[in-house]
Amino acid sequence: MELLREEPHGTTKAFYLSSAVWMVFGTLAGFTGAVQLIAPELLGNIPWIVFGRIRPIHTNAVIFGFVGSALIGSAHYLVPTLVRTPLYSERLGKITVWLWNLAVVLGTLTLSLGFSQNREYAEWIWPVDVIVMASLGLGFYNLLQTVKRREEEILYVSVWYIFGAFVFTAFIYFFGNAMWNPFTGSITGIPDGILAWFYGHGVVGLFLTPFAVAIAYYIIPITCRAPLYSHSLSLLGFWSLLMIYTHIGTHHILQAPTPTWLKVIAITGSIAMLVPVAAVLINLWLTMRGRIPYILGDTGGKFVLAGTVWYLLTCIQGPLQALPVVQRITHFNNWVVAHAHMGVLGFSGIIALGGIYFILPRITGRPLHSKFLADMQYWLVLLGMSGFFTVLTAAGLIQGHGWLNGETVYRMLPEIHPYMVLRLSVGILIVSGAFIGLYNIYMSLYGFKTGRKAS
């Protein structure tokens, strides 16, 4: 079958094209939601795009469709490359791609029809969850078989992170979606809130983060032409991530009647997250010390470097806002929305794009269709992300400050309206970048001109 045609790096190519398509769709969905925040009645009352549906469509399409596809696609390149062995089965890889896309399509359709589990990032209903798990399982099996046949005995830290991501994503996805309760996808009461945020936070920290860090650990040494500063330190970061990240999700519900001991664990764990984050960033930055101009000269490397900057900000902000005294200001408002965009778009999304632009020439044997367009997308996404951060952070602080002064939600809405207009304006940059990226990635894959070879 043509859809399962075996070709060198076919899995990675298909994941990359999927990612580019979902970036366009996901950002357009976000843009639609942003329009509704300014003018709720502008689009009429079309049921399948009302805010309650378009928001989870946006978040899931971006997390799993755009960022997830790019990261898993890169994993299917990094593991074979780092263990010096071809991918075990490109056909299995293609099945993984199609199942993944089927999940995102079905998840989107069912959400637009009103079928939802109503828990953040776990809105997709049970049949979609099964497809996600199947795709994750196939990807894990394919890469595991590749590693079992490896020619390089030592597993580089990126391989550890990739396998960690597969295993722990499967864990958190199964438990977080309460898959043993197919009709609700949830349990009851406060334990469900705890479970939901164990998953909601884990989907960033144990799905997106390890994949993105794996890519950074691979690309930065190559682009700055230097060995990794310390492989031991990188492994310390990996194991400490798994030790600490798994139990900090309760910091999302500190104001809820969750057990105090669990809150204490979540807060101390959040602060302890500085250990694995510092291990990663210090290691990468010491690797690139004095060589940053080389990284900025590489299209993919430039994205990855920017992603590490957002990673630093996200991971300093995370522990800070886990402190109850700070959270009184920052929670339940647009500050958290800014933080989520930093983690998903600024950190893992930008690194995912960096992975695509770094690896594409290596799997096609040709240069990118347009380095200029890739650079343009870099600046659009970077400016857009910076704009999101500024606008949403400011709006969040105004909301938090106002509420603590006794203002009602209703009275605060006009105050943040200008910020929502700015947010929509900034979103145009991201959507434009997505369209440019889709064109460039498609042309790099399929629109090649004869005679152009990768340097």
Partner: protein
Amino acid sequence: MAYYGGWILLVVLSIWAALIAFVWAVRSGQFSQQGRARFLPLIDAMPGQASSQEPLPPSRGGYVLVFILGLGAAGMLCAVILSLYHL
């Protein structure tokens, strides 16, 4: 209390998965040769992997990232100041 069973199962499974991986890593010598492991990305396995980019002058790009760091720091500082104000 009925949910405790599920939690304990999750904890046990997670710890076992991590322990199995860790023990395998120790036994198969994954923590040896750390010096060589640093170079693994630099060993070309696929054709055309050599990085050919030219360094850019340090005035471009890097300063924008420094500015973003400053922006982030300013946002966090505002949150801390407001938190202290409302103590």
